[in-house]
Amino acid sequence: MTPLLRFQDVSFGYGDKDIIESANFDLYEGGCTALIGPNGVGKTTLLRLAAGVLQPLAGNVLLNDKPLKTLALKTVAREVALVPQQLDLPFQFTVRQVVEQGRTPYLGLLRGPGRRDRESVDRALALVNASGLQHRVFNELSGGERQRVKIALGLAQQPKLLLLDEPTQNLDIGRQIELIDLLHFLRAEGVTILASIHDLQLVEGNFSAVFLLSPGNSLRHGTPEEIMKPSILEHAFSCPPRRHPLLLEREQRDTTRRAG
């Protein structure tokens, strides 16, 4: 079985700093994978590489066994959608106008949106339960509402692979459960999901696989049972956390004084 997405010795870095080093993994259709790791370890970079927004410095990202860089932008955009953490709009676009942009890969220079595109936008909005928001101005929405609209924008692309960058950020517990529910539903619909997740409690029971990126650039993958072990997580997330050096110094001083 060919994987939907394959990372083959992929390396990437900014300037002298290596972010991803020789990453290898396969994503198969229908999977729901959580990408976890401490802050600044390169989760967003990995998702951008997977969407073809960034090109690897070495190695290959393959989509359906074809190198991503050889495929036309539109072909990639019909297969892979990346939902970013932040979306800032300069003008007062309505929610519907924003989600309509997800149809861009299906439109030509002279061919505007048709009935099928409108239906697809309707469906994407309905899936994230945002039909009622469609005439609201995107910039005036709450964090949770924006998150749903961003996912609808990704769904309007009708992708096989949906990449989500911190989808639970800014969501209260109720909205987080709604989002996890939506991911279950999308998975049942045949959408493959790779989501970077900050809240480790959400991983178990909700994701079929876990990628763990840890400092030192190593990428581990396995089932949640294999990865979500205290020994592995403590090492990856530097737990117990390093204490503030000046505070440590003061505590040591105090101890010495008391002993003296």
Binding site: L73, V76, L87, L89, F91, Q92, Q97, T104, L110, G112
Partner: protein, 358 residues
């Protein structure tokens, strides 16, 4: 039950879409009517009295106009009014495109230096190649286009770093480049000792006076406006996508660099067309798209026709005011626009200060 609710919801949405469309078409038709009225109003304004009834009678072959009236109408007023309409349309569309491209409602051809580049190009044309013309296009117009494109390429590359356009750098670079170019035009004027005529043309350009163009010049510029508008149409949808940011647009399958080049070339062509008829007219390209956006929302596809029509109306009105407020003395429309547009720009600056953190 759920299906029923969905059905109702869909019907509501459909009704909303129809209303919105009707609203849009009604607005376009209304603007066409207003433009026709404003043009007629401008035609009958002036020292020699020609009433709308007289024009109507002449059009219906009831009672022809006198030879003087005919010359005044057809050779003086009509070309000037049409020139004002073309300039207004061209500046507004070009302002709309620059605002969309730079994701900033404060960009316009004057502010970001595109007009300044066109003037410098044109002044080089006036002083050095005034006799040359290719396929009916004068060297002056071609130099204006080249100046406009090159300035935009310069300002754009100055404002971009790490794949992002920095708004503050853009406005500063545009201001600096446009000042340098404006004064370079004067500088070329000083070098021109032999022929005072060139200086006169240049001075009127720098002040922004819509002259009385020949019909041939008018038709070439009108054709350019039409061509640029046709090219602009498919680019408008792409401007909507670009609003999500360059990286997101690319992720959606848009070839961002091609789109950008297309927009810069088209907007520069429009700026050059406007400059070749009216010189440096500030703020028209800023105000009109902005007001249209307030009325219609930010969808560029709809903003294109509305901005084009509103721009034409706005400049025909402004030019009529400019030549009749203190008649027989004429105020350059560029100066009038600066006096009206300047305060509006300041208002914009104040209003958007927070969201742009300027």
């Amino acid at each position: 039950m759920v299906t029923g609710e969905r059905g109702v919801e869909k019907a509501v949405v459909d009704a909303y879409t129809v209303r919105r469309r009707l609203g849009f078409f009604a607005l376009v038709v209304l603007l066409c009517l207003v433009l026709a009225i404003v043009i007629l109003l401008s035609l009958v304004t002036g020292a020699v009295r020609v009433s709308p009834a007289m024009i109507f009678n002449a059009l219906c072959n009831h009672r022809p106009l006198t030879a003087t009236q005919e010359i005044i109408l057809l050779q003086i007023r009509l070309p000037r009014v049409l020139a004002a309409a073309i300039v207004g349309s061209a500046l507004s569309i070009s302002g709309l495109m620059f605002q969309g491209l730079f994701r900033n409602p404060m960009a316009d051809p004057y502010v970001i230096g595109s007009s300044g580049g066109a003037v410098l190009g044109a002044s080089i044309g006036i002083f050095f190649f005034s006799q040359i013309s290719v396929f009916g296009f004068s060297a002056i117009a071609m130099m204006a286009f080249a100046g406009s494109v090159m300035t935009m390429a310069l300002v754009y590359s100055l404002a971009r770093s790490n794949g992002k356009t920095n708004v503050i750098t853009l406005l500063l670079a545009g201001f600096a480049v446009s000042t340098i170019l404006g004064y370079s035009g004067y500088f070329f004027g000083l070098l021109d000792n032999s022929n005072g005529n060139g200086n006169l043309i240049l001075l009127s350009w720098l002040r922004g006076i819509i002259g009385i163009p020949h019909w041939s010049q008018l038709s070439v510029t009108a054709a350019l406006l039409l061509l640029a508008s046709v090219i602009a149409m498919p680019l408008m949808r792409q401007l909507n996508t670009l609003a999500l940011g360059d990286e997101y647009a690319q992720q959606l399958g848009l070839r961002v660099e091609y789109t950008r080049v297309g927009i810069i070339l088209t907007a520069s062509l429009l700026t050059a067309a406007a400059v070749s008829l009216g010189g440096l007219i500030s703020f028209a390209g800023l105000i009109v798209p902005h007001v249209a956006r307030l009325l219609l929302g930010p969808d560029h596809v709809r903003l294109l026709p509305v901005s084009a029509l509103a721009g034409a109306i706005f400049l025909v009105l402004a030019d009529t005011l400019a030549r009749s407020l203190f008649a027989p003395t004429e105020i350059p429309v560029g100066i009038l626009m600066a006096l009206l547009g300047g305060p509006f720009f300041l208002y914009l600056l104040r209003k958007t200060k927070r969201s742009y953190a300027l």
